[in-house]
């Protein structure tokens, strides 16, 4: 197992290298010129060129790529073209809100969706099953930003229970922190609740048909024991896979949610950087995201061994 983990961690290096090359090349050929954004309308072409030179944007592709890779290898993500702040500092400032949003969303989604899916499978064909599946279809169909606006309208504007926008760091206390996260987490989580609930239901339905479940019933095992000890554990591998995919998708979903609820996270940092063509920031954030994806995949693979002892690496 240890050797497997080491192998997988080492395998991230070529993956990251390919991502780095891809991201750098894509930004190099993409339209947009940060020097023109900085210089503004009144600037002469000479002024724009001088800014481009001062930013090093006039140098050849290979020189820029080589310098960038060299910096990355030293752990230096560079400096934002616009803010003049280190990219690592900008990421550090933004990572907590995004991480908080993802954790709360994921906890919410798993806590609600798995029991929903289990119950729907148990009561398959009844109104409970229909209700759960209708909810799932609805959650899939309504865009996150619509859910966000709706929640903000009801719970912030009309009922005045929760704030409309913003983020309070965890260091200011759990109460203020969670107050700001409830609405965005519910908005973002609705899709994942639907997704996980559906997968849980489908997998559980299959597992509940298995011989060992019939045997467990024959031996007099209680319904709860059958559902949660015998069936759910055996249905866990696909569910965990979907949760893993969900984590990756959450990063994308966070971009919209962070905008609707004005949460200063990595999603908004990425969008702002793309709109301004702040290359070092885009490169840094994309590298970080790819690293997270790779780690999540590794964690999911390792979790398989917990749920299914037959899986060995």
């Amino acid at each position: 197992m240890f050797a497997y983990i080491v192998r997988r961690v080492l395998a991230t290096i070529p993956v990251m290298a390919i991502v780095a090359l891809f991201v750098f090349s894509l930004l190099y050929i993409a339209p947009g010129d940060p020097a023109a954004v900085i210089a503004g309308d009144q600037a002469t072409p000479e002024d724009v060129e001088r800014i481009r030179q001062s930013l090093g944007l006039d140098r050849p592709y290979l020189v820029r790529f080589g310098e960038w890779v060299f910096r990355i290898l030293r752990g230096d993500l560079g400096v934002s073209i616009f803010t003049n702040l280190p990219v690592s500092l900008m990421i550090q400032q933004r990572i907590e809100p995004t991480l908080s949003l993802m954790v709360v969303t994921l906890l919410l989604a798993v806590t609600i969706a798995v029991p929903m899916g289990v119950v729907a499978a148990w009561k398959a064909g009844t109104w409970i099953d229909n209700a759960v599946m209708s909810f799932a279809v609805l959650s899939f169909s309504v865009p996150v930003f619509v859910v966000g606006y709706l929640l903000a309208y009801i719970f912030a504007l009309e009922l005045d229970w929760l704030p409309v926008q913003g983020y309070t760091p965890f260091s200011n206390g759990f109460g203020p922190w969670i107050q700001n996260l409830i609405l965005p987490a519910v908005a973002l989580g609705s899709v994942y609740i639907a997704l996980i609930a559906r997968i849980t239901r489908a997998t559980m339905l299959e597992v509940l048909q298995q011989d060992y479940i019939r045997t467990a019933r024959a031996k007099g095992a209680g319904q709860r024991s059958i559902l949660f000890l015998h069936a759910l554990k055996n249905a866990a591998v696909p569910i965990v896979t979907v949760i893993g995919i969900g984590i990756a998708l959450l990063i994308g979903g966070a971009v919209v949610t962070e905008s609707v609820f004005a949460i200063p996270g990595l999603g908004r940092l990425t969008v702002d950087a793309i709109l301004r063509r702040d290359y070092p920031v885009i490169q840094g954030v994309v590298l970080l995201f790819s690293f997270v994806y790779v780690l999540v995949n590794l964690a999911i693979d390792l979790l398989y061994t917990l749920f299914d002892p037959r899986i060995r690496y």
């Binding site: 339209p31 503004g40 009144q42 001062s54 229970w161 926008q165 200063p264």
Partner: protein, 528 residues
């Protein structure tokens, strides 16, 4: 107890993680919470021309002189100025008691260094600079301009609002004008709190307790810049609906640029004031690429202009209420001294049928028209879509490209034909301030390759502009030249003025002391 407080307390008690919210009630009362027009990404007002950076700089830095509500230049950091009989020497004297945020006195040498850095980027001062022999410190409080020839516009350049001359300590002002400064030390009414700056989320300023404001009442950007609030917090909220909700709920106090679509909703809220703060409207501009077909033909440009009805554009941007916009069918900002509509007859036709006839007579033969619309700029996008509609109705071969602003500003620099990445029509907006005088009217310039994108080449416009710089101090003469300029610009029609819309701001009713000015500034404003 409010429900939200109750909920917050409940959650805190339940988890034993009790802690104070980010801002206590007392702190909220002493803090002005602002949603600015855009993200503050750079702090150097010389390095970038971003309006949001300039507005930030108005808090941190002070100006030698400034525009009042009538557009006149009044002393600000200086007590006043003396001009020699021959008009070749201007001596400025600093007020007593001026100090930078680090405690150092503001000296004449700081002003000289700041002027020297600023003039390298300011287009207005660049025009005047050949007349300047030297700018030099005479002692700690006096500095002078020595000129080759009388240049009364020096004062306007120093006191302008578009690209203000902000005063920094000499050691900072010695930074290359094309490199960003790394410190934010000014002598203005507020101090930037760098540790709390999180670009994209928040920027914070604190009152400069040692600031010595002028004694006169605030008047535009002139007069006493009294910091009446302890702390100003900008929160970047990119979503307009969220911004509106935050203002309605009292989570924010001031919203600089509310989306026009949301103004009726905000006006219905009795806790919110919606008013025009900026003195000039925002002007729409439709720009032709005069280098490439079909708009290298002035007759085709004029044909399109005949179909334009500014009211359609302005409704698309600012809604049906005529109080929210104004028709202005000339190149200079309406209701300013040079405003005129001499030769603007084409723009007053508003006739699509006559435009079609003119287009046919001009020899249009189906050349492709590439119009780029910036999807991430709602107002400019709306202007672009209106023109696209006109081009379609005229029967022209339109390719409408939707792009983000970053892509547009790169592509607009291309002088290539449309099938090799070029363009035919773009749109932009401009503050009315920037269109008041020929000397800094960007879209009027017609000096070919050095003109703004579209690169019109109309020597007569350039000759008239140079004449205005020389004789513009004489009001009658300046007016005559402005009329000739409008006539020439309408004849060449390298850009179509699209009128102006007002951009109101919204603030909570407990925000006091809000005044009209040429820029969004926060001195004199408090909370009750």
């Amino acid at each position: 107890m409010e429900r939200r407080t109750f909920l917050g307390a409940g959650a805190g008690i339940a988890t034993a993680g009790v802690a104070a919210p980010a801002l206590s009630q007392g702190a909220v009362a002493r803090t002005l919470r602002v949603i600015p027009q855009a993200n503050l990404t750079s702090l150097d007002p010389v390095w970038t021309t971003a309006v949001v950076t300039r507005n930030n700089a108005f808090m941190i830095y002070d100006q030698l002189c400034a525009q009042d509500a009538q557009g006149e230049i009044k002393p600000q950091m200086v007590e006043g100025w003396d001009v020699s009989q021959d008009g070749l020497t201007w001596v400025f004297t600093l007020r007593e008691g001026l100090a930078f945020h680090d405690g150092e006195r503001v000296l004449a040498k700081d002003c000289v260094a700041s002027i020297d850095r600023w003039r390298r980027r300011d287009p207005f001062m660049q025009v005047l600079w050949p007349n300047v022999a030297a700018v030099e410190a005479m002692d700690d409080r006096k500095f002078r301009f020595r000129l080759h020839r009388p240049t009364p516009l020096i004062l306007l350049a120093l006191g302008q609002t578009q690209f203000p001359c902000f005063i920094m300590p000499e050691r900072i002002a010695q930074t290359d004008a094309f490199q960003q400064i790394r410190e934010t030390i000014g002598s203005g009414p507020f101090k930037f709190v760098r540790d709390e700056w999180n670009p994209g989320q928040r920027a914070v300023w604190e009152k400069n307790e040692r600031y010595v404001p002028r004694q006169e009442a605030v008047d535009g950007l002139a007069g006493g810049r009294v910091p009446k609030i302890d702390r100003i917090e900008w929160t970047i909220i990119t979503d307009p609906a969220t911004s509106a909700s935050a203002i309605a709920q009292g989570e924010q106090d001031y919203w600089e640029y509310p989306l026009h679509d949301l103004l009726p909703m905000l006006r219905r809220n009795r806790g919110v004031v919606v008013e025009q703060r900026l003195q000039e409207g925002t002007y729409g501009i439709c720009r032709f690429n005069t280098l490439q077909p079909p708009f290298n033909n002035p007759a085709i440009r004029r044909a399109v202009a005949m179909a334009v009805d500014q009211r359609d554009y302005l409704r698309a941007v600012a809604g049906d209420d005529p109080a929210g916009w104004g028709v202005c069918e000339g190149v200079f900002t309406c209701d300013t001294p040079l405003a005129n509509e001499v030769g603007s007859d084409l723009l007053k036709m508003h006739n699509i049928e006559r435009a079609k006839q003119a287009l046919a007579a001009a020899g249009y033969s189906g050349e492709k028209v590439v119009l780029i619309a910036p999807g991430d700029y709602p107002q400019i996008n709306a202007l672009s879509l209106m023109t696209a509609d006109i081009i379609r109705r005229l029967g022209m071969n339109l390719e409408l490209i939707s792009a983000d602003w970053g892509t547009l500003i790169q592509r607009r620099a291309s002088k290539e034909p449309v099938d090799r990445g070029g363009w035919s029509i773009i749109h932009t907006t401009s503050s009315g301030q920037s269109l008041t005088l020929p000397v800094f009217h960007l879209f009027l310039r017609a000096n070919g390759p050095n003109a703004w994108f579209g690169w019109p080449d109309v020597p007569e416009v350039e000759r008239l502009r140079a004449e205005w710089v020389e004789k513009g101090g004489d009001l009658a003469e300046g007016r005559r030249i402005a009329e000739a300029l409008n006539r020439e610009a309408m004849q060449a029609m390298y850009y179509v003025p699209l009128g102006y819309y007002w951009q109101p701001s919204a603030w909570r009713r407990n925000v006091t002391g809000v005044f009209r000015a040429p820029a969004t500034v926060f001195w004199n404003i408090g909370k009750s």
